[in-house]
């Protein structure tokens, strides 16, 4: 025989899934919500998204090629995903140069500083987003008005911001609710907010797709949303005049986007199912706490980043159930 026999230790079969496939499937799952946001916010959203994606790819390539001097791995789709998620977390009206800085921070600080794919402690897109939020608070909280996008963008507060300010001023919840869109509209995607926050229902479509493709399991998204619902609900039951109702919590802000696409980021979430549930409960509690008592109207980004920091600890202490373990 002319060819050499290959020798490898077992197993000799592989499921055939790859990092690339997973990443591109997640991107695919994001598309409906992304396309809807293009329709709602128009060209500015397209520009923001394109800039973020291209910037992420270029920055990752430059860092890998010239700083780390390794083999660039941009083809695995993670940079594209980070770019899309970053774009979905900022207002569509954000100036291009700011989103570029966001991409630089997301990839440069959030990902490559830790050693690249798989090594990062924090979700890179959220690192970028929070960096921008702290650095450029004005631009990052000027949301284009959905209903007037085709004309010139005027700014409008997000439902969460309206409620937050209202409560601060002592306006009763019932009056505030009149100011914000109806729940059905929130679900369909008719509120001001970040590029990717607008349509809860299309994000849910993405979730269903990812669950069917077995890219993620139900544990993280359902626990995060469930915790937000339950904790928000408890507060609401205690005093419906002081606290908004739980459905409002679920439908507004980045709750859906965060729970479905950001918290489930494999790299920064715990490995075991038990750990994932602890992680998700933490996110839910911190999110509602920040929304209710914190100084920012929305808190899921911070909540996810905070729990990201706990992930190694959770991984260390929460072990899967061992076979043959006696309780």
């Amino acid at each position: 025989m002319s060819k050499l026999l290959t020798i490898t230790p077992s197993p000799h079969m592989h499921q055939g899934d790859s990092v690339n496939k997973i990443m591109y499937s997640v991107i695919f799952a994001l598309l409906p919500a992304l396309i809807w946001s293009f329709i709602v916010f128009g060209l500015s959203a397209v520009a923001v998204t394109l800039t973020a994606v291209v910037a992420c790819i270029v920055i990752e390539w430059v860092i890998q090629k010239f700083l780390i001097k390794g083999e660039p791995t941009i083809k695995d789709g993670t940079a594209i995903l980070t770019g899309i998620l970053l774009a979905m977390n900022v207002p569509a009206s954000l100036p291009i140069w700011i989103i570029f800085i966001g991409a630089l921070v997301a990839i440069g600080v959030g990902k490559m500083s830790f050693g690249g794919l798989g090594q990062n402690v924090f979700n890179p897109a959220l690192v970028g987003r929070v960096f921008l939020l702290i650095s450029f608070p004005v631009q990052m909280t000027s949301w284009p008005n959905v209903s007037k996008t085709l004309v010139d963008a005027t700014t409008q507060a997000t439902p969460l911001a309206i409620v937050k300010e209202g409560i601060k001023n002592g306006t009763p919840i019932s009056d505030l609710m009149a100011e914000i869109p109806k729940y059905t509209e929130l679900l369909m995607g008719n509120m001001s907010g970040s590029v990717g926050e607008v349509s809860a229902i299309l994000l849910l479509v993405g979730l269903v797709y990812m669950l069917l493709k077995k890219i993620i399991t139900w544990h993280i998204p359902f626990t995060v949303l469930g915790t937000i619902f339950v904790f928000g609900g408890i507060l609401w039951l205690v005093n419906p005049d002081q606290f908004v109702d739980p459905v409002f919590h679920l439908l507004t802000g980045g709750a859906m986007l965060g729970a479905i696409f950001m918290a489930t980021d494999m790299v920064t979430s715990p490995m075991s199912k038990k750990g994932q549930i602890i992680f998700s409960i933490g996110i839910g509690l911190i999110t509602v706490s920040i929304r209710t008592w914190g100084s920012y109207p929305e808190g899921i980004s911070f909540a996810i980043l905070i729990m990201n920091a706990f992930t190694p600890l959770i991984n260390n202490y929460v072990k899967p159930k061992r076979f043959g373990e006696t309780k």
């Binding site: 026999l5 290959t6 490898t8 077992s10 990092v19 794919l117 494999m266 076979f323 043959g324 373990e325």
Partner: protein, 442 residues
């Protein structure tokens, strides 16, 4: 709901290409190379010399300890040499090479096919005879069977499990055995029950072999105490601990043997070999081997004498295809890629699998993305990603703490890893090293 184990598991494509092929007798080889170490434990002691004439079934190497067993000549002829030969791993191992002349069987062996359903030997005598016949676990682990039949003091077997799961993709040897030698299997099981002094036995079969389940269920009516237990198709259903969990719902504690929960597991092949040894006085000199693979012209099941070179089996199944990348001895999940096409069949060879070029190579390794799939598929509830890292960093004490020794090397982790990381390679190394450390501690 079908019974199964509870933690982890995967479901690889089954590819049972040769399931409908009846077992054929493979012609005798020209020379038989019989390895001296064919089982777990001490290598046997060679008792023949160069130039000796041997008969089929004649003992040529003797058990050299409690965990060891006898080896018999599978052919008749002349001992050509006793020397080292390259085995499947590329290392040189001792072997007895016999030049085959004719097919002359030892007189004590009963070669008739008539079914005898009972033996008057007692438990001790059965166990002794199993040792004398050189029977080892034929599922692949090759653990000497007589050791399994001798529970340590203070322990008592309650149930005998016969493993007809055959969860490895491609392999069909056990499947064919159950279909074609059902009665002998049943009698063998009864004998093993007698040896263990238990009155309950269960044969676990994966649900993808409905004909075998039906056939054995029919037969089981005749044999008291044997039940047939269909199991969900889930890899590694055939793992000893997984099978026990699935069939009787008990979990073997970490580091303990199945006997700790009152179970003894034997392969269907072992049960058949027991029947032949006890009833027909025939030692373990041949076994059923599946020769298969997507590129193989004629995937088949052969009855093969121990010591036959692999090349002869492949030839019988239609020859070695041109685009062969790997030849695997055993199944695709736990089998071993052989370095050399001439390696002989041993007692543990359950199949010869030929893998095509496009499926035969590992994809480039990527960074771990901590997706946690290895954790969710591990049937032992371990964290393969962690064990691999610990192994790479040589942190053995932590590795032991994380129960690296519990790994059953089923390969589910490597199979499922989207980043193509060689998890099992590193874990196996960790297991070997930690095992060595534990032994020196004692």
């Amino acid at each position: 709901m079908l019974k199964t184990f509870k933690i982890g598991g995967v479901h690889p494509a089954e590819n049972k290409l040769s399931a409908h092929k009846a077992v054929e007798q493979l012609p005798l080889p020209k020379t038989a190379t019989i390895m001296v170490a064919q089982h777990i434990g001490a290598p046997s002691k060679v008792i023949v010399q160069r130039g000796d004439e041997v008969k089929v079934g004649q003992i040529i190497a003797q058990s050299a300890g409690f965990v060891s067993t006898n080896i018999h000549s599978s052919v008749s002829g002349k001992v050509m040499k006793i020397d080292t030969v390259v085995d499947s791993s590329g290392y040189k191992k001792n072997a007895i090479v016999i030049n085959v002349v004719g097919d002359e069987w030892d007189e004590s062996i009963d070669r008739s096919t008539e079914l005898v359903t009972d033996t008057d030997l007692d438990a001790k005598a059965i166990t002794d005879k199993i040792l004398a016949a050189g029977i080892v676990g034929l599922g692949g682990a090759t653990f000497p069977t007589h050791v399994k039949l001798s529970p340590p003091p203070g322990m008592k077997a309650e149930v005998l499990l016969i493993n007809g799961v055959e969860c490895e993709p491609y392999l069909t040897a056990d499947h064919r055995l159950m279909l074609e030698k059902g009665d002998e299997l049943m009698v063998g099981t009864k004998i093993l029950m007698k040896a263990l002094n238990v009155n309950r036995a269960a044969i676990g079969i994966e649900n993808n072999k409905p004909d075998a389940i039906k056939h054995l269920k029919e037969l089981a009516k005749k044999y008291e105490g044997i039940e047939i237990c269909p199991l969900k198709v889930q890899y590694p259903q055939g793992g000893e601990k997984q099978l026990i969990k699935a069939v009787i719902g008990r979990e073997v504690p970490s580091g303990a043997l199945p006997i700790a929960v009152g179970a003894v597991v034997n392969n269907v092949g072992t049960a058949l070999a027991t029947y032949e040894a006890i009833i027909k006085n025939k030692p373990l000199i041949e076994r059923i081997v599946t020769v298969t693979g997507k590129s193989v012209a004629n995937p088949s099941n052969f009855m093969v004498r121990i010591g036959t070179p692999t090349s002869q089996l492949i030839e019988a199944a239609g020859g070695l295809p041109d685009d062969t990348a790997k030849i695997i001895s055993g199944g695709p999940m736990m089998g071993k890629a052989v370095s050399n096409i001439e390696v002989p069949v041993t007692k543990g060879t359950s199949g010869i699998l030929i893998i095509k070029e496009e499926e035969g190579h590992r994809k480039p390794m990527q960074n771990c993305i901590r997706c946690g799939r290895c954790v969710s598929v591990c049937p032992m509830g371990l964290e393969p990603f962690l064990l691999m890292t610990l192994s790479e960093k040589n942190t053995w004490d932590k590795s032991e703490e994380e129960r690296v020794m519990d790994c059953i090397e089923c390969g589910s982790c490597s199979y499922t890893c989207p980043a193509n990381r060689p998890l099992l390679d590193h874990i196996r190394y960790g297991k070997m090293t930690v095992g060595g450390i534990i032994r020196t501690r004692k």
